[in-house]
Amino acid sequence: MQSPAERARAAGLTLVGQRPRLGAYLAGLWQRRDFVRAYARARTQAGNRRRRLGPLWELLDPVVTMATYWVLFGLLLGARASVTNYLGFLAVGVFTFAVVRRSLQSGSRSVSGNRGLIASLPVPAIILPTAAVVQQVRAFAVSVPVLLAVLLMTGEPVAWSWLLAPVAIALIIPFAWGGALLLARWVSHTADVGGVLPLVLRLWGLASGVMFPVTERMASLDAPAWIESVVVYNPGAVYLAVMRDALLSSYDSPGGAGNWVAAALWAIGALLVGVVVFWRGEGTYGRD
């Protein structure tokens, strides 16, 4: 009498619902790339169609945020005085951090909010956080002209260093993707995390210097050295620093070239950890 497993093997059957190897898993994602792109676009358009101003909101959102911060931090708290071109500083900060924050935010909910899709179609769950990140990167791409307009209006000269900005973005995207994957798995089994995440992300933005130069402030605080390195080399601060160094000639971040090394390391690290952690959870995401 054969065991069921032996009978299955004898008949050439394989286990269903088995997590594929990492390579095959990523190949599955690549195979569905057209769906990822179409789904990201559809979700954006679906969001816009409900609003009267439609796609204009993708530009209005960062502009309104920027205006709010400018009044709050620039005018009322006096951050304007600490940076030469405060509006430019703020614009780069808000637009850059928005990619990270919104990718993590919508990526974290992408699996728990779309279980129906995973539980009904033979698709790798990684398509959902990936589509969420693609959606946010598209939103950023749309808003780039506004960012450039603010820079030019505030008197920033067009410089060769601007060419470094796409490089910085190319490092931010893998970081945001990896982070979104990590959070998506976490939120999928502990929904509570999703509840505190918006708050944590805003505080992180504050601590990373979206609204005022935190890293410079640290030096004058007389904090222990390790706290200073944590603040200066946290991915948020690092990505803001490389973007500002690239786009603002009136501003030089304290970290200098070291920031680029940190930016690359964070990108590689987050993506590796995120992909592996998310892949290891495959097969559990369809559960309600």
């Binding site: 069921p4 009978r7 059957l13 394989t14 789904y39 559809a42 979700r43 409900r50 179609l121």
Partner: protein, 272 residues
Amino acid sequence: MDGTDGPPVPNGTDRARLPDGTDRPSLRVLLDDVHVAYRVLPHGRMGPRRPVQVKALQGVSLDIHEGECLGIIGRNGAGKSTLLRAIAGLVPVDHGAVYSTSTPVLLGVGRSLVPQMSGRENIELGCLALGMSRSEIRERTDEIIEFSGIAESIDLPMSTYSSGMAARLKFAIASSVVHEILLLDEALATGDMDFKERSIQRMGELRDHADAVVIVSHSLSAIRASCTRAVWLDKGSVRADGSVEDVIEQYVDDTRRRRQARRDRRRAGPSS
């Protein structure tokens, strides 16, 4: 498992095994003691809550062979849909295992559609989710629209559709792909009489193209019409497995007994 020469399996007698231990005709899907439980958080209490287990499948073992069309019957909540999703590998199995020659596919488009988008855009989305290439989609779109029978509303957002229209579009998309091992939830065939007839016919075509089929249906006549074997699922376990007539008879008897028991209880007087 060359899988081309096996004759259709006669009703219920598929357990015949050759002395060397191999199955004839070739085995396509094997379920070995499959358990599935859902974990839910209980309602209504403040403070940290512990998840409660709801058992949906409790030890289901089945062999499905080439050429078979297996009908699953049972009452609501017996675990029929969970069984289909477990075979497709869409819900994780807590204990036991599902083996198969190729990944069984549950007919449907799931939640891959976006209600704010038009029917045409959703055809593209749904087909991409099902793994079609862009050129295949271009080829099939017109056929899908025609089958759905909602050509005049195809460029309106899906959220403006009636539930019947949406169901037709979803069925038209999902049924445009042929699968080797097909899992069907007959509740899919909805809509007016004309569409129902056409979708039943379409399901028949899909069945003909598949090597093995599992159907969940509440319609005993549909099971009689298309299945070669039936399984009665009750409270997450197999209560009967065999020829369509035998299994349906047992199921109908049981349903009658239950009805009679309910009637008797009622007659026994209103107990407070």
